[in-house]
């Protein structure tokens, strides 16, 4: 049981766990009872792929994996278990969890196969457990990624006062990357710059001196929540938002009327220092 959306997809797809998205209430019910209904992804038959996705887009960066998650999620029928094939470089864990986060926001997908990569998809027939895909294949190309971007990010330049990184929460290597890039730089005086992680990672960051560098630049490391969870009372005190997560971008666009920009770490840091998003 988990209350974090992408963890369901990640645990099912990468680690062979058997879990359902359920809901926060059900996590408490199961914690109290010590039991949970046996259905959905607990049942081997339901874990089979039923939707082939042909990826013909150039997917490599964290941002592109974010956009791929939305592009696929937007095109999935309810209840799909996708299987993706394509000529892309195999993603590292951080790109994958970012991808699963986006996928979990824009669909109800709970299980995902990447052919020759995830453990229940040693090849296409293994992923489908049959010889053929059951539904018409979906093709994702570069245009699909552009559409994902344009539907979640503003395109015109404007001033920004809110920059948030870390959805899913950053690991220590991502915090280190930000710290090294912010060394001897200053966050714009009007910008609230935040990195979100969990407390043990924050502690490691403190011990390694990364927190000090980020704070000296004018930024903050916060733990165990995120802007979308804090909600409208917090978000509506800002006007221009920059995030590196399509999940946050989508939530903030639903909650506020401000400009919302989605970018890479470098684009986000550039906006944080300048106090402005530039095309």
């Amino acid at each position: 049981m988990t209350t974090e959306s992408h963890v369901t997809v990640t645990a099912n797809s990468l680690w062979g766990a058997m879990g359902n998205s359920d809901g926060i209430e059900a996590a408490f019910w199961s914690a109290i009872c010590g039991k949970t209904p046996e259905w959905g992804m607990h049942v081997e038959e339901n874990r089979r792929g039923n939707q082939l996705i042909m990826v013909k887009a150039n997917v490599n960066s964290m941002l592109e994996w974010n956009l791929l998650g939305k592009a696929i999620g937007d095109n999935l029928e309810s209840g799909s278990v996708p299987v993706i094939e394509g000529e892309f470089k195999k993603p590292d864990f951080n790109k994958l969890r970012s991808f699963f986060t986006a996928l979990a926001v824009f669909s109800n997908c709970e299980m995902f196969h990447i052919v020759n990569y995830t453990p229940e998809a040693r090849d296409v027939s293994d992923a489908f457990r049959t010889k053929v895909s059951l539904k018409k294949p979906i093709t994702i190309d570069d245009l699909s990624l552009v559409e994902s971007y344009e539907s979640t990010s503003d395109l015109e330049s404007s001033r920004v006062d809110f920059v948030s990184l870390g959805c899913p929460h950053y690991d220590i290597n991502q915090i280190k990357e930000v710290a090294l890039k912010l060394k001897n730089k200053k966050i714009h005086v009007n910008v609230h710059f935040m990195i979100w992680t969990v407390y043990p990672i924050k502690y490691m960051s403190d011990e390694n001196g990364y927190t000090k560098i980020i704070e000296e630049a004018g930024g903050h490391i916060y733990t165990s929540s995120c802007p979308g969870v804090i909600g409208s009372y917090f978000l509506n005190t800002y006007n221009g938002f920059v995030v590196d997560s399509i999940k946050q971008a989508s939530a903030i666009r639903g909650i506020t009327n401000g400009h919302v920009y989605l970018g890479s770490i470098d684009q986000c840091l550039d906006a944080a220092v300048k106090g402005k998003w530039e095309k």
């Binding site: 209350t3 359920d22 209430e25 979990a104 926001v105 824009f106 539907s151 989508s250 909650i255």
Partner: protein, 158 residues
């Protein structure tokens, strides 16, 4: 009056009727609805700006956050819940949300009876959980924004 009847599986029994609001791409949890008013806030949703309050809400399944049920549960607490719910196919988040909402709900329709395909916004829909049946009346022209659906009523099984 044109009437269509479709059959599914009862997830939560009871009888409810009201105007349909049909979300073929579901509604995302986070930032998807304003629980206080029931208004759909999700950018790009075909029903953005409309309220789910007192409607028969029709969707293929859940979408998004593991907290999906919480947002609908908050709407229930705030008095902005739909009268009834139809899902083409139940999934785990939908199942929890149904339990939280405690409104008559029918799920798992045959593919050629998918409610998102057969029902349109504004149709008058009656859910009969005792017969696993949904009656769709196509000639209702009232706009769901006008609050003329106040005459909706729900009789729940005790």
């Amino acid at each position: 009056m044109e009437k269509t009847i479709i059959k599914g599986r009862v997830a939560l029994s009871g009888i409810a009727e009201g105007r349909a609001i049909v979300c073929p791409k579901s509604i995302t949890g986070w930032g998807g609805i304003d629980p206080f008013t029931g208004i759909i806030m999700e950018k790009g949703n075909v029903n953005e700006g409309k309220s789910i309050k007192d409607t028969i809400l029709v969707m293929p399944g859940s979408k998004g956050s593991n907290g999906w049920s919480c947002y609908f549960g908050a709407a229930r607490v705030a008095g902005s819940a739909p009268k009834g719910w139809l899902f083409s196919r139940i999934d785990s988040s939908a199942g929890v949300a149904i339990a939280i909402m405690n409104i008559p709900t029918i799920v798992d329709f045959e593919k050629d009876q998918a409610p998102c395909m057969l029902i349109q916004n504004g149709d008058w829909v009656k859910i009969n959980g005792e017969k696993c049946e949904v009656e769709i009346f196509k000639d209702c022209k009232e706009n769901i924004h006008t609050n003329k659906h106040r005459d909706c009523h729900v009789r729940k099984n005790s």
